[in-house]
Amino acid sequence: MFSMDLLLGAVVLGVLLGCFYAAVSVGLSISFGLLDVPHVAHPAFLVLASYGVYQLNETYDIDPLLAGLAITPLFFLFGLLAYRVYYETFEKRGTDAGVRGIAFFFGIAFIIEVLIILQFGVDQRSVTATYIGKAWRFGEYRIPIRQLVAFAVALALTILLAVYLSKTFMGRAIRAVAQDEEALRLMGANPVRIKQFAFGIATAVLGIAGALLIIVAPVEPTLDRAYIGRTFCVVVMAGLGSISGTLIAAIILGVAESIVLTLFGASWAPAISFAMLLVVLAVRPQGLFGR
């Protein structure tokens, strides 16, 4: 059943969903896209952040977004530590190539999953906030406010990161280390420290992204598995390391998913997303905005 109303609604919801996807993927765009770290534990870090937000919301009744902001410094430190362990055990010895680096992060993801289960149990958890469960009415349309919040925060987060990476000294250093680590070393900079800092930023961002995740839908310990495909799909489709590209690729993915869900049947949604990725890679192997 096709109607312009439905199509328009699907596009609007798709843009909102896409911005949310951008928020949960943008950290990976730094860690995997710029730093070339096979960070398959990224969605597990994201879910861990959601549980942190849940704990603060449940115990102190703090707004989920503020709770996300509050855990950001902790996640920055967690990122520094995670990269240091990865560097000392794999990268420094040159054993990070192939599946070994991936195995390290898979191990971390499983440990995080088990720790969450031990602490919180296996049940779904969700947060309360005034904007959850309500909709903004616009004529016949109703748009969930939680999605509008996710849209606005995700947009701000992505723009902030893009500006940080292109306009600040440290941001340009992170880009430089992604382009030519050796040249940076010759200029007297320590690429390992820069990469560690960048990984810290990529993880800190997950504090906010985790808040959005639990605002949009309830979380459970194994939710990371649902996001591993989507986040890597967004980052690869965007072109590795392109932050603004991540936003656009995520919106394309969100709109495509939403249109398929609304007009063609939900079963096709994952297939369409990944088919789009394959088409993009066939036409532009470096991704939409990759160099």
Binding site: M1, Q124, A217, L223, R230
Partner: protein
Amino acid sequence: MKRRTFLGGAMAVAVAGHGSRALAQQPPIKIGMSMAQTGGLAGGGKASQLGIEIWRDDINAKGGLLGRKVELIVYDDKSSASETPAIYAKLVDVDKVDLLFAPYATVPTAPLMPFVKQRGLLLMGNFSFQVNSKVGHDMWFNNAPWGPADSWASSFLDLGQKAGGKTLALLSADQEFAQNLVLTAREVAKKRNMPVVFDQNYPPNTVEFSSIIRALKAAKPDIVYVSSYPPDSAGILRAVNEIGIGDNVKIFGGGMVGLQFAAVMSNLGSLLNGVVNYNTWLPEPSMYHEGTKAFFDVYTKRAVEAKVDPLGYYLAPFGYAMGQMVEAAVIATKSLDQKGLAKYLRDNEHKTIVGPIAFSADGERKESATVQAQFRGVVDKDVEQFRSSGKQVILFPEKMKTGNLISPFEAARK
């Protein structure tokens, strides 16, 4: 102390000591199963396992079965169908278990059916839906109260039609259990010449349901039958609350898994109001039988330590009942012969804490005891409210009914 009293006491101690030595010396009766400890089904799996463990502890306190202690061997199947065939092969060939209990739910159970049929093994089913319909294994007995395949959808559509519903929308998760459920709904609708105006399956891991609910609303159905799994049920209800479902919908729900679990019910709170959904046990006077209250007294205490569903209505008493049925069969046949046990289970009615259970030829209940209940007066963030009667008014079956349907759905939500 008089000499006679002393001798009597000494003899009692000796007899008791001898008895426990006999119990300890005999090898235990091993019951093997996999159970979801992680993954989407883990909430239910853990509660179900606790119910079975309470039965094990009760039977061992009574001296075991055939004078032997009962031991459970349980592996985590991660809620996955790909894990269970290897686990059950290990249970049978390596662990050499005496009896098998099925894992919780349809998806992990379905791939086991060819294996148990080929090996001629008794399998006590644990809340799967129609996994034996095509396999036709005559040693399968499901503890769930589903009954005949179409009774679930029939009862829901009956309620919808009585409320004036003429058209149907079907929304279903794209996996075994939900598909079995929605298939019967399609068949019942076809028999009744009821037009299906919306019929969609959504894939596992669907994050956002707003688009789907918008499309469903545009189809303007009268009856909305949803068969979803726990991770999705909350997302669907949230989207329904935000997007709306239309004033013409008379009844919404039917087969949403998850709305039976305390954490999900507590999280959704008032969003549940008006939803008519299936359930298996509710704290209504008509649902108490011998041992039910005592079971829940123990469960409530142990659920806190085990960090499982604090209510445990949906699965735990049926896990216990599964043990009771095996217990009755072993005691009556005085053996662990699987064919003998299967014959006993098939030919007799069994007294359990969830009421009498009798099986039809396909190993499902002869008569459905699945209730359809409407959530009413639910408030946010209060799990304890679900311990009192009246929060889920039973609409079906007739003999357990505690109220009438409030319709249309939007009115019932207020």
